[in-house]
């Protein structure tokens, strides 16, 4: 395995794309009139019901292969629901209501931010099949608003291929035991309006660009005020491939900071699978070498269940290869057979595990099938493997154990093609597990419950003509004017203070940094102290600063006063803080009294000491002047006085 932290992404031919799912601010769900509110307390669930799902044909007359694998999993899906936020539509007991047109319009506005050129002038609602139970109908209602847009990323354009509006899926409640055939969902999130924004995956060449792409899209959702805020509002799916590998989708990443580790662990996985493929080719292995011959070896085990073994010719040593940190190829195969058939991975064993220091034994999921050297020899006697052969053992109820064996043989056959196209679940440790076969276009067909809705280009033009500045335009402007970096601008966007910032700097003529302090730094600081700082207070501060009633040095003082006296008027502030001007002599006297406390020679000799003392004295004098003096001017005065001393 490659070292995940020493990768040359360019050399490896890394490409990545994003599917950003972001909930939209709305008053209702997309296809019904339920409020889009979540219910966190499991005690508050009012009712439950359960269902099974079957695949249906796509419009072109094909079953989607991904859907057939989903059906194979045989899930029983239990829904927990709450009267106040779910209705018979969410239960799939009544047809959809007319979609929320406002959300449809939001889709077009978003598309304008991305400079999309091709708009859907007539909305066709589509059904996208999901058989995992996450949607009660078995399909998600979704539609394209626009195609062919872009976002700037580190000096280049990353293309946005599609902007969709769709209904969100239900929330899976338990993930602990992926071998369980019963899955649980909370219906509260089902139907909440969501946008899906998809990027062209050839356009992103390394993890940093991927992160920046996600940030740019997130900024648009913030600056446009279309995105819902709060945790869980945004989820990203990431498509990753390297040269010789294939597109693999990693699902449900909420924390963008995890992108880096995710990319690295996926790159090493694909690289390892390619190496395994090459070794298989070198050993002259063909798909036909792997037969669906499952040998019943239950008699060798002390168990009430069945134990089957299958030989994999010429595969010795390959199942033990590390494909992701602390996970061997065998375990990777078992994750898939477990998810599809429900046989836990701990009940699945491969022959490389018998070697001393085998990786599996120390992995997160060591095998529970107890095979010591003695038993190993007995199994070999039954199977009679050749020198270079490997074998796999599965323990479980007859039907499911055979099913698992079948999936294992199929997966090993696929190994000779390298990296299978899969959707995988991202895990907190950076690794990933098989979730499903990648879902294709054949799972999409038109929704017969909702007739097409004409939007017209004129209406789209009308909707999008007044969109504000794009986040990257704002950044360029603020960077140039005030030297702001991305963090500054991001905070202004995230806290929705950009309009205020422009008002303060342009109408009130306040300095950019001062405006930023008022709008971002002070509110965040007071929030940390659990104090209540209202927008009115900040506006009042900005106003008295703008009218030069107070100096910016007095901001903290006035702020504390305002927090204690929220009702005070500008006049009262003026009375309290707009002190009579102090004469130069008085100021100089105070300065002198401070300077005298320090060793003047030392100040003049060492520049660093000088700067330290200078700011210290400035602070002391300001405090004595109740901060009613401009700091910069005061510092200059002090400096002059120190050097006048020197000259004298």
């Amino acid at each position: 395995m490659l070292d995940p932290y020493n990768l040359d992404f360019k050399e490896l031919g890394f490409h990545a794309g994003l599917e950003v799912h972001h909930q939209l601010k709305s008053k209702r769900k997309l296809f019904c009139n339920c409020p889009p509110i979540l219910e966190e307390n499991p005690e508050n669930m009012d009712y439950s019901f359960y269902r099974y799902f079957r695949p249906v044909l796509g419009e072109m007359g094909d079953f989607d292969p991904g859907m057939l694998v989903e059906f194979e999993k045989g899930y029983k899906v239990i829904y927990l629901a709450n009267e106040r936020n779910t209705c018979t539509y969410d239960m799939d007991e009544t047809p959809p209501f007319f979609p929320d047109l406002e959300m449809m319009e939001k889709g077009f506005i978003l598309a304008a931010y991305f400079d999309c050129t091709a708009f859907a002038e007539e909305i066709v609602v589509n059904r996208k099949q999901y058989l995992d139970g996450s949607i009660t109908t078995g399909f998600q209602r979704t539609f394209i608003c626009a195609r062919d847009g872009w976002v700037p990323v580190n000096g280049k354009k990353v293309r946005i291929t599609n902007v969709h509006i769709e209904e969100d899926a239900a929330r899976r409640v338990n993930w602990e035991d992926t071998s369980n055939r019963t899955v649980y969902y909370n219906l509260d999130r089902l139907g909440v309006p969501l946008t899906e924004i998809i990027t062209e995956y050839m356009d992103v060449d390394n993890p940093e660009e991927l992160l920046e792409t996600a940030k740019q899209i997130g900024r648009v959702l913030r600056i446009s005020k279309i995105g819902r805020r709060g945790s869980g509002a945004a989820r990203q799916d990431v498509n990753i491939s390297i040269a010789g590998g294939d597109r693999v989708e990693l699902k449900g990443v909420q924390d963008l900071e995890k992108f880096d580790i995710m990319c690295r662990h996926e790159v090493v996985r694909q690289h390892a699978l390619i190496e395994i493929k090459n070794t298989m080719l070198q050993r002259g292995i063909k798909k036909e070498d792997f037969e669906h011959t499952y040998v019943d070896i239950s008699q060798l085990f002390d168990t009430n269940e069945k134990v089957y073994a299958t030989i994999f010719p010429k595969m010795k040593g390959l199942f033990g290869i590390e494909v992701q940190p602390n996970k061997d190829f065998g375990l990777e195969i078992f994750e898939k057979s477990m998810l599809i058939t429900g046989i836990p991975r701990k009940n699945q064993f491969h022959s490389d595990e018998i070697e001393d220091g085998a990786l599996r034994a120390n992995s997160d999921y060591p095998s529970d099938v107890k095979i010591n050297h003695d038993l190993y020899s007995k199994i070999c006697k039954v199977l009679n493997p050749k020198e270079n052969d490997a074998f796999i053992v599965v323990e479980g109820p007859e039907k499911r154990a055979l099913h698992a064996m079948k999936k294992i043989v199929e997966r090993v056959k696929m190994a000779i093609d390298g990296v299978p196209q899969e959707t995988r679940r991202f895990l907190p440790n950076g690794n990933s597990e098989f979730l499903r076969v990648i879902h294709g276009k054949d799972r999409i067909y038109p929704d017969t419950d909702t007739p097409p809705i004409v939007i017209s280009l004129d209406r789209i033009k009308e909707l999008t003509k007044n969109i504000g500045k794009k986040p990257w335009e704002v950044f360029d402007e603020l960077h140039e004017k005030y030297g702001f970096n991305h963090n500054h601008v991001d905070l202004l966007i995230r806290d929705e203070k950009l309009a205020k910032f422009i008002e303060y700097t342009e109408q009130l003529q306040l300095d950019g940094n001062l405006s930023y302090k008022l709008l971002i730094i002070l509110p965040r600081a007071t929030r940390r102290k659990d104090l209540l700082l209202t927008t009115e207070m900040i506006d009042k501060l900005a106003s008295v600063l703008s009218k030069k009633i107070i100096f910016k040095e007095q901001v903290e003082l006035v702020l504390n006063y305002l927090i204690e006296n929220p009702q005070s008027t500008e006049e009262e502030i003026k009375e309290k803080f707009d002190l009579p001007e102090i004469s130069d002599e008085k100021v100089e006297m105070i300065i002198q009294s401070k300077i005298d406390k320090y060793d003047l020679n030392k100040i003049q000799e060492f520049e660093e000491y000088q700067n330290l003392i200078l700011s210290k004295i400035t602070g002391e004098v300001l405090k004595e002047l109740s901060y009613h003096f401009e700091g910069k001017m005061l510092a200059e005065k002090i400096r002059q006085m120190i050097f006048v001393k020197e000259d004298g």
Binding site: D46, Y47, S48, F49, Y50, R51, Y52, F53, R54, P55, V56, L57, E59, M60, G61, M67, E83, T88, M91, D92, E93, T94, P95, T117, A118, F119, A120, E121, E122, I123, V124, N126, R127, K128, Q129, Y130, L131, T136, T137, G138, F139, T142, F143, I144, R147, D148, N162, H164, G440, K441, D442, I444, Y445, P446, T448, P451, P452, V454, S456, L457
Partner: protein, 462 residues
């Protein structure tokens, strides 16, 4: 999807159609449309009725569909052709000696279905292949022979369709079927079920009506489970009645078996829409088998006792009384030559005194008027109040606790046999197929009437 070999732009109309023909653009062509900066590439799909004339529907590379306005500025170019073939895969099914033989007569219920580009909605598909492909478990349950009688929506049924359906059933029974399934749209399933209950005398096999409340073009459809349970019921169980067996709850947990004459659709959309009123269902079926709730179920009768009695009179109408109803509605039925009327009256079965003269006319013209109750549950009892007695005096026949659909089909059937009012009265007041329960226990209003587990908690949270 109609097979369109001549390259016609299917479903397109007006100027756009002319233009597509002129440019030789066919449906299922891969096209590139350019409008200013915008470029759209995709398959040109057939266009549905009731949609705007000036737009084309495209399926783009991701499988999504969208619409584009074709104005003068737009250019369309054909770059390929790929016709979809919306057909479930073929499955070879072998006849198994040890399995019962069941015939599925399709009338338009959707167990499998396909897209219809004419309306953009869903049409039933009913070939054996499609059925077995959608519900493969059927193959190992019974020897199922699907046959298509009609492909119509159930609201388009007419009395002659009940007759044809009954005749088809009789033919299958003669040919040795061990059970019959009728695939039927759910809207009027109960009406057909009632009619069949009166037509099919001494049934030697079960007749199970079944359909789906969620169309079978969706992965969550109730259709597959309903058809599977219907196959088990009709193939293996010992009863000779016409029943409706559909979901008993919103879950895929069990189906209730309703006697057709006591069954009614009670919700426009839910899976568990069907309920037995004023009684409890005959039983339930789930993955562990059948549990019978009632002991008055007719067993399979000897085949030689079976006969068909489909004489019907289609000049029967039904009036739903409401406060303010003008008597001319009933008068006009007499004028138009109706032979019988089912009236749905308020409460115990009342109509306003305004209607009395019209009732008298019915009596004079020997047109039987059967009164059933608007509350659906309980009996018509015209002896309790003076109004009722006034109505009895005017010849109104109390319809006992027949449901409207049972009273309507039964009256059509009775009038098919005799126009003599006294004979009609005698038939109407005799329980023929469970449409009248001679007594009503309290549980008929309480058990399995939508009171589900968890109701206590919901009440607490109110």
């Amino acid at each position: 999807m109609s097979n369109n070999g001549n390259g016609e732009p299917e479903g397109y109309r007006g100027a756009l159609r002319e233009r597509l023909i002129k440019d030789k653009i066919r449906t299922w062509s891969k096209v590139v449309i350019k409008k200013g900066d915008a470029e759209y590439e995709g398959l040109l799909l057939p266009r549905s009725q009731h949609t705007d004339d000036d737009y084309v529907t495209l399926k783009v590379d991701t499988g999504y569909n969208l619409g584009v306005l074709i104005d003068e500025e737009a250019t369309i170019k054909e770059i390929g052709f790929h016709k979809g073939n919306y057909e479930l895969p073929h499955i070879e099914v072998k006849f198994k000696k040890d399995l019962p033989n069941v015939t599925l007569l399709g009338t338009g219920g959707t167990v499998a279905s396909r897209l219809d580009y004419r309306t953009g909605a869903v049409l039933p598909a009913f070939t054996p292949d499609e059925l077995f492909s959608a519900v493969p478990e059927l193959i190992s349950t019974v020897n199922l022979t699907p046959k298509t009688l009609y492909q119509i929506l159930s609201e388009n049924f007419r009395p002659e369709y009940w007759v044809k359906t009954a005749e088809a059933i009789a033919k299958e029974i003669e040919s040795g079927a061990d059970g019959i399934i009728i695939g039927h749209g759910t809207d009027t399933m109960c009406v057909t079920g009632c009619a069949l209950s009166f037509f099919l005398r001494n049934l030697p096999v079960p007749v199970v009506l079944v359909g789906s409340q969620r169309s079978s073009d969706r992965p969550s459809s109730d259709g597959p489970r309903n058809i599977l349970y219907a196959a088990q019921l009709s193939g293996y169980e010992n009863f000779g009645e016409v029943v409706i067996a559909m979901h008993g709850t919103p879950s895929d947990s069990y189906n209730l078996i309703h006697r057709a004459t006591r069954c009614r659709k009670m919700h426009s959309a839910r899976r568990d829409t069907f309920r037995t009123l004023s009684d409890i269902p005959l039983g339930k079926i789930d993955d562990s088998g059948v549990t019978w709730f009632k002991d008055d179920i007719s067993p399979r009768r000897p085949k030689e006792d079976f006969y068909l009695d489909t004489k019907t009179d289609s000049r029967v109408g039904m009036l739903y009384f409401y406060p303010g109803m003008n008597p001319d509605m009933l008068e006009s039925m007499v004028d138009l030559g109706y032979h019988g009327v089912v009236m749905i009256g308020t409460g115990l079965g009342h109509v306003g005194t305004d209607i009395y003269p019209a009732l008298e006319r019915c009596k004079e013209e020997e047109i039987p008027v059967i009164m059933v109750v608007e509350p659906l549950f309980g009996f018509a009892q015209l002896r309790v109040y003076e109004t009722g007695r006034d109505m009895l005096a005017r010849g109104v026949i109390e319809g006992e606790n027949m449901l409207p659909s049972a009273a309507y089909t039964k009256l059509s059937w009775a009038l098919g046999h005799t126009r003599n009012v006294d004979e009609v009265r005698a038939i109407m007041l005799t329980n023929i197929a469970g449409e009248i329960t001679t007594r009503e226990g309290p549980r008929g209003y309480m058990v399995l009437q939508g009171v589900e587990p968890g109701i206590d908690k919901m009440m607490k949270n109110l």
